[in-house]
Symmetry: C2
DNA sequence: GTCTATAAATGGATAGAC
DNA sequence: GTCTATCCATTTATAGAC
């Protein structure tokens, strides 16, 4: 009984989140109101407070969901085969994930919402993703902190340019393989690329 | 007379812009209202409409000013000396420009304000900067479109990571020289790096 | 859990006197 | 050019009935 109710509660929560995502995709990450979300799920705004304490709590749940999706995207990528080829797969997968949903990209990787910061629990998911990335990079000999930092900067940068300047295109995302090779060549030396 | 008045008008316009910048830096690019800007210059909100037709017109003027400042930053960078050293200077200068004002960075390089797009005239300034960058890169043998695209993506990416994850630090910006060398090594071949 | 009603604040923008 | 007054819409959030 209570269990059944809890499941129903969770389902409604997810419906609300889905509606918020849809609006964020249509009008921009910050371009929607609680009234609109409520209307989209056939409710009035005050009812949302049964499921989320504040508007920021919706952003926080979206943040967490986004990183769970990214972790899933990671899981769907084969980690067998030549390490460099795995890296190429990871890079392509990541860029596809980013351009598929610009609003999600902004929420996860840019600090765009005035006053919003993810909760500790949600932020932990972001760190899980980073840990996972670190593992893959290590397999290909990219072990230094610098290599990891450069990786995240480069691929979020490619995604940002693609989204900002040519949404729907591939002028930046198609550089993925090339960039992977370049980074491996430069940073996988025994000294992590320091010698150059 | 009319000339004097026009100069005064322009000066007030700039005061308003300065106030808007200050608020954007304090509370985020979108975290301020016309009332607040007006108060900062000792006016009431309606008076602002003498100087700007809409709030978006203020954003547009800020966008244009930002790119003019970036062009000036370019001008302050020596273009003498070894081409690769020039590139390093340009890269460091660009990253310094970005992290010095995160709100400006968001306005110029990310699409963050729902509904706002720069006017034709303002956008032309952005293209001036890009043309200037293209020139510098060419001097160092980076002539392909791919090299230019990778450059912009990489350095806006480094800036974004620095600003989002470690504001005030240099964990990402200090990678500048290393990244320049890597890009030159990879993309300055006669075929623009295609051979790898 | 959902609603109506409403608080309480804030927003961009306009009218019209001075 | 600047103001007061105000419109009108919108926002997040709460109180309390059902």
């Amino acid at each position: 009984m209570t269990d059944r109710r809890a499941r129903r509660h969770e389902a409604t929560r997810q419906e609300i989140l889905d509606a918020a995502w849809a609006l964020a995709r249509e009008r921009g990450l910050t371009g929607w109101s609680l009234r609109e979300v409520a209307a989209a799920v056939d409710m009035r705004a005050p009812s949302l407070y049964v499921y989320f304490e504040r508007k920021d709590a919706i952003y926080d749940a979206m943040f967490a969901q986004g990183y769970r999706e990214l972790l899933a995207e990671f899981g769907a990528t084969s980690t067998d085969g030549e390490p460099v080829e795995v890296l190429r797969q990871v890079a392509r997968g990541f860029l596809g994930f980013c351009v598929a949903d610009p609003a999600r990209f902004q929420l996860l990787f840019l600090r765009v919402i005035p006053g919003f910061a993810p909760s500790e629990g949600s932020y932990a998911l972001a760190e899980d993703v980073l840990a996972r990335l670190r593992g893959v990079l290590e397999q290909a000999g990219l072990t230094s902190q610098r290599a990891v930092d450069l990786w995240t900067a480069t691929f979020t940068g490619l995604a940002a340019q693609q989204i900002s300047n040519e949404p729907g295109g591939d002028r930046w995302t198609r550089l993925a393989d090339e960039v992977v090779d370049m980074m491996v060549a430069a940073m996988s030396a025994p000294d992590g690329g320091r010698s150059r």
